[in-house]
């Protein structure tokens, strides 16, 4: 099932299928290692349910829901 990262629930694992944005945001996402095929795990959300925090390549990053919208993912479990 391919959905946008925003729709994932806490503690769900996923694999990145595609990132649909360009410019600075895409660059930042690349810098953080969120490239196609990468596995990650949603670990939580801020008190107002935005931004979202996730674990990827052994460290934790956070991005806003409207940034997670650009990331298509496949839910693993």
């Amino acid at each position: 099932m391919i959905i946008s990262m925003r729709k994932m629930k806490d503690n769900q694992k996923g694999r990145i299928v595609k990132v649909n944005c360009e410019g600075e945001l895409r660059q930042r996402i690349n810098d953080m290692g969120l490239t196609s095929g990468t596995e990650f795990k949603i670990i939580g959300r801020a008190p107002l349910f935005d931004p979202v925090a996730l674990k990827v390549r052994g460290f934790t990053i956070t991005l806003r829901n409207n940034e997670a919208d650009h990331i298509e993912v496949e839910v693993i479990d």
Partner: protein, 728 residues
């Protein structure tokens, strides 16, 4: 002398490593033309001298942020002999992303594999020898926190810089489509000598494919080859878009990570799955960023920073005040009456006192902030508050600058403006700097207290709370307005790392705090001193004529003549407690002195300006006396109450004990409308000069400093007129 540049991701321990290498004995300047700091030191190792340069901490070498541009330009233009890329061993995959980019550039890069202790703790096994062989560069293990491996690193740097065979530029494959175009572009660039003096041909080609604004802009002025390259990149992109539904830029990033994975496959082994393992840091986060507990704990931390900063600096500030008070006393006693004495006491000593009085605040505030940053908590603040502050065009970390500036009433905008450094987005940082001074700082409080005492007696704390809340509301709304209409920088991406929690080292915190404090004294000090002298001159010249002075002199003689000789002698003595008669004599003399001071102030440039403005400012309910006080308030808000006292011929009023001035204001016809108007004006008008200087320094732009001086004062004036006219 050989130049060694230290590069690395944020939170990789680069700063500690730099401090270890240089013994924390370095020189701080700015990179040419920008506000990014450049730390530099000369170091001798085994008889050989090196210049060590600290590059800004960045995640990559793309041209999107100022720090990244600075780091890349430095390596391209200054051609350091060695680039030491500090890698976080516990986070090797992402840290190598920038390393690979250095290799693509053909930079003479080697690696310091830092935090090997953390990696071991996390059961990550790294075959260091294999890593060096795969990357084909020297790799040295370090633990910068404990100053381990520094000597070995310097040995390797010396050896690497001496060896003639520097690593060949890395030619990794970015997939068949990209590679094919890349080779064609590379040949074209080589044949035409297109920017080849500066960049490797393959790297230039790569940047055209990555749509790198900086390189493309640089190439666009050079000739027809630029158009050809752009066309080739476009053709490749449209091909990739139809066949693989992505862009060349994205493919290149994917392949870089692919290359890194292929290297690490035989170098790194994890004993357990990094996605599932709960590290200590994750467990702490379960509490500290908990949806319910997190915000409560955060409020507690913010309150603690505030309390710590002002509690810890209380005594040093008092010592400095007594020191300058004592200096003033020495000058008072030792110098002959006259202009020079007045200049030394009111201009120079008070000005220096004003500058240095802030130093302890800055020192301790940065100590507290460095603790939050180095521990990793600052990123959590940004994470938890982002949703709220984003509405106003700010970032979660803006809260720290606001609180320190007086978000908890009684702060100070000077360290507050400087605290905005922790904000990552350029736009958000700028807006925070421009709005933090609206908070009720410690120097505005006496003005509010005076007016509340005089016109809203019995409801002091309620009014003060209302003023604080209104200030927050104003700062946030103005932030929103500035972000929408005035600040043109693009919105920045939020994506950021939540670094693992770490216990900061006392050494690291002290170095950081001391560096900030010293920079402030050195850079801001001279400017502020000059302004202080200028304002002294404005409030002193022109002086009263001899004839006017004679009037007061004869009044004094009249007073003296009307008392017995014994009373006069007693009154003139140094005794603190005197008889009722002698006290009356003293009071009458003081009254004459106060009238003279009031007259002198009215006659000075500031006084005349106050009168010139009166026809306009009367619409806001300000007479010329208020105008003088407000002009003085641009130097320092502390001056407002004192100058108002002088202008109302009460002598210098102690801001802490302004009862007599409150009475005087009520008696001279001030109404609640005047008071509200003045409160609104004080909330909104130009920050004090020290803050303006800090704004100039932190934004690197005189335009914004002037903006706060002129536009804020204009807006404050309009708001005051509106308030006064509605209520008056």
């Amino acid at each position: 002398m050989k130049i060694v540049a230290i590069a690395g991701n944020p939170n990789c321990g680069k700063t500690s490593l730099f401090n270890n290498i240089t013994g924390a004995n370095y020189h701080v300047a700015n990179y040419p033309g920008v506000t990014v700091e450049k730390k530099e030191a000369k170091v001798k190792h085994n008889g050989e001298e090196f210049t060590i340069v600290d590059l800004p901490g960045t995640y990559s070498l793309s041209p999107y942020s100022l720090e990244e541009k600075v780091a890349r330009d430095y390596v391209v233009n200054e051609k350091p002999d060695v680039v030491v890329n500090v890698l976080d061993a516990s986070n090797l995959e992402r840290n190598l992303y920038m390393f690979v980019q250095f290799m693509e550039m053909g930079a003479p890069v080697m690696a310091a594999l830092n935090m090997v202790d953390v990696a071991k703790l996390r059961k990550i096994n790294i075959d260091v020898k294999a890593l060096g062989e795969k990357l084909n560069v020297p790799v040295v293990e370090t633990v910068a926190r404990e100053n381990k491996g520094t000597r070995e690193l310097l040995d390797a740097v010396a050896k690497f810089s001496a060896s003639q065979t520097k690593a060949a530029p890395l030619d990794i494959s970015y997939g068949p489509d990209v590679d094919e175009t890349l080779v064609k572009m590379e040949t074209k660039i080589k044949d035409a000598g297109f920017m080849t003096a500066k960049y490797l041909p393959r790297w230039t080609a790569l940047k055209y494919l990555e749509n790198d604004e900086q390189i493309i802009a640089e190439g666009s002025g050079i000739g027809s080859i630029h158009q050809e390259l752009v066309a080739m990149a476009e053709k490749l992109n449209s091909h990739i878009k139809t066949t693989q539904k992505t862009t060349a830029e994205n493919l290149i990033a994917d392949y870089r990570y692919g290359y890194i994975s292929s290297i690490l496959k035989s170098v790194v082994t994890y004993e357990d799955s990094p996605l599932d393992r709960l590290y200590l840091s994750d467990r702490i986060d379960k509490v500290l960023t908990n949806k319910l507990l997190g915000p409560i704990i955060m409020l507690g931390f913010l309150y603690l920073i505030y309390e710590f900063t002002f509690w810890a600096s209380e005594y040093p500030v008092m010592w400095l005040e007594s020191l300058f008070g004592w200096l003033g006393g020495v000058a008072e006693a030792g110098m002959a009456e006259g202009l020079l004495k007045s200049l030394v006491i009111s201009g120079i000593i008070d000005g220096m006192g004003g500058v240095l009085g802030f130093a302890p605040l800055i020192l301790f505030m940065f100590f507290a902030i460095a603790f939050l940053e180095d521990s990793g908590y600052m990123a959590r603040t940004a994470y938890m508050l982002d949703r709220v502050f984003r509405i106003f065009g700010l970032q979660g970390n803006s809260v720290v600058a606001y609180i320190v500036s007086g978000g908890i009433a009684g702060g100070c905008a000077v360290p507050g403006v400087m605290a905005a450094r922790t904000i990552k987005g350029e736009k958000e940082r700028l807006i925070t700097i421009l709005t933090a001074p609206f908070m009720p700082c410690g120097a505005k409080l006496p003005v509010y207290a005076l007016l509340i005492k005089a016109f809203f007696p019995g409801n002091e704390s309620g009014m003060m709370l209302a003023i604080t809340l209104i200030s927050w509301l104003l700062a946030l709304s103005i932030a929103r307005i500035l972000g929408t209409f005035f600040v043109k920088e693009p919105d920045s991406a939020f994506v950021m790392e939540l670094p693992p929690y770490r216990m900061p080292t006392l050494k690291g915190l002290s170095i950081h705090a001391w560096e900030r404090c010293w920079m402030y004294v050195r850079k801001a000090g001279t400017v502020i001193l000059a302004i202080s002298i200028l304002l002294w001159a404005m409030m002193t010249f022109p002086q009263l004529t001899d004839k006017q002075l004679e009037v007061y002199e004869s009044q004094r003689q009249d007073v003296t003549a009307s008392y017995d000789k014994a009373v006069v002698e007693e009154g003139d003595s140094d005794a603190e407690e005197v008889s009722a008669m002698a006290q009356e004599y003293r009071d009458r003399l003081a009254e004459v002195d106060a009238n003279e001071a009031g007259d002198a102030l009215a006659n000075s440039v500031a006084g005349r300006l106050g009168k010139v403005f009166e026809p306009v400012t009367q619409f806001a309910g300000f007479d010329w006396r208020t105008n003088i006080a407000l002009i003085g308030g641009i130097a320092a808000k502390e001056v407002v109450v004192a100058s108002l006292g002088t202008a109302y011929s009460l002598g210098e009023v102690d801001p802490e004990e302004s009862d007599s001035l409150a009475d005087k204001l009520v008696k001279s016809g001030w109404t609640t409308a005047n008071a509200i108007s003045l409160i609104i004006f004080t909330m909104l008008y130009a920050p004090c000069f020290v803050t303006v200087v800090a704004i100039r320094k932190e934004t690197g732009s005189s335009k914004w400093a002037l903006f706060t001086l002129v536009v804020y004062t204009g807006v404050a004036f309009l708001a005051s007129i509106a308030a006064f006219q509605i209520m008056g």
